[in-house]
Symmetry: none
Subunit: 212 residues, 2 copies
DNA sequence: CTAAACATGGGTGTTTACCCCCATCGAATC
DNA sequence: GATTCGATGGGGGTAAACACCCATGTTTAG
């Protein structure tokens, strides 16, 4: 029987996870934690086979929890469960010593599979994570697929003004360039970022956290 | 036996919720949905007693789902389940016609209680929501200027499609209306929300948390 | 029942967005 | 020194967005 620790600050979610894991009949949940500090304490005390850890938690986030467990209790395998698919998270978690990474969009069956895989001493990364890791190996140092980074200085200025809702004419006036130049920049930005129109451009900015 | 619909885009969470609800032995889950559109469809088709709805969902967010169910299937009681505690969410949801509001920090037992309360025809709002509502009653001045709420059902559909980056023509095709009608809706939306163009519209959606 | 709101679609413009070419000039790179 | 890249500007065109009108039915609310 696989002994599991579940750490998630949302009580409804955590207790549901516990119920689902138990219902699978393949494991037992020996501990729960609602924040990072409690998760580490429980793990060090009870030494579960697998620690299912959410990233966003009060007091101590999931990344820190994984890092500490990797050092202080290496036999406890960490399975990160999160809703974030951003590459930065993936790399951080793997670097911190996580043995598995699963997004919350994955089906429950995959969680069970991941838990069993980790308990068997293997690592489990879904197809998405594997792809990110592969890209990282192929092009070390640079983040994969970062069209924004391909924008020139000037193009980034224009980019932010467009996202702010300014028209081409207003942008041209503000930057003291011709309307045509601003328009050219605009087209080039759309092309480089692979979006079709202004709406998709703004959504791109939101997705990449380029606002505020 | 209480018949329940569970709508949450995170599959792990959704399936766990289902497992936990079933484990309680007091209800049966007759349907699941991974996005807002599917949630409305399922609810209209199967008419559950209670619809447990997450706020952040693709295609159609929880607020919209509640609003539509309140109109098209008033006998289906909506229980909003979210991690957001912001006042604006609470007011929006209640105004949209939700019969219950629960944060994910609440214990599972409270979810069961809430479900049973709603199934019995009562409303269930936790202490936090009640407090917010009380404050609202105490200062009934300008409730909350909500230009989005001034949009009609159809206009909201168009709104979300525009924010998703679709052109007028694509929207018309999807909704099976003429390009001109879609264009008219579009203009009216810009006017009602007080924005000048698509970029500002998307930013509005971001600011009001109307995405996902 | 009447008035208002809504969804639909059309007309007629102007403005803006977007695309594909092109050229020049300077700076950096090789 | 030659080449690439960035920023600048333009021509010419299509498509889309946007702003005003307007008219019908239908539904809804007072």
């Amino acid at each position: 029987m696989i002994r599991i620790l579940v750490a998630d600050d949302h009580t409804v979610v955590r207790e549901s996870l516990v119920a689902a894991l138990i219902a699978s009949g393949e494991c037992q949940v020996i501990a729960e934690a609602a924040d990072g500090v409690a998760a580490v304490e429980q793990a060090l005390l009870l030494r579960p086979n697998v620690a299912v850890v959410d990233i966003s938690m009060p007091k101590l986030n999931g990344i820190e929890v994984v890092r500490r467990l990797a050092v202080e209790a290496p036999e406890v395998r960490s399975l990160v469960l999160t809703m974030h698919e951003e590459e930065e998270y993936v790399l951080h978690m793997v670097h911190a010593g996580a043995s598995g990474y699963l997004v919350k969009h994955a089906p429950m069956a995959e969680l069970i599979t991941a838990v069993k895989t980790l308990a068997a001493g293997e690592v489990y990364f879904g197809p998405y994570v594997s792809r990110v890791l592969a890209m990282q190996v192929q092009r070390p140092g640079r983040s994969f697929d970062d069209p924004y980074g391909a924008l020139s200085i000037r193009e980034r200025e224009v980019f932010h003004l467009v996202v702010d809702g300014m028209t081409t004419k207003e942008i041209a006036r503000k930057l003291e360039i011709s309307t045509k130049t601003a328009e050219n920049h605009r087209s080039r930005i759309l092309e480089k970022l692979g979006v079709r129109n202004t709406a998709e451009l703004v959504r791109y900015a939101v997705r990449k956290h380029l606002l505020d």
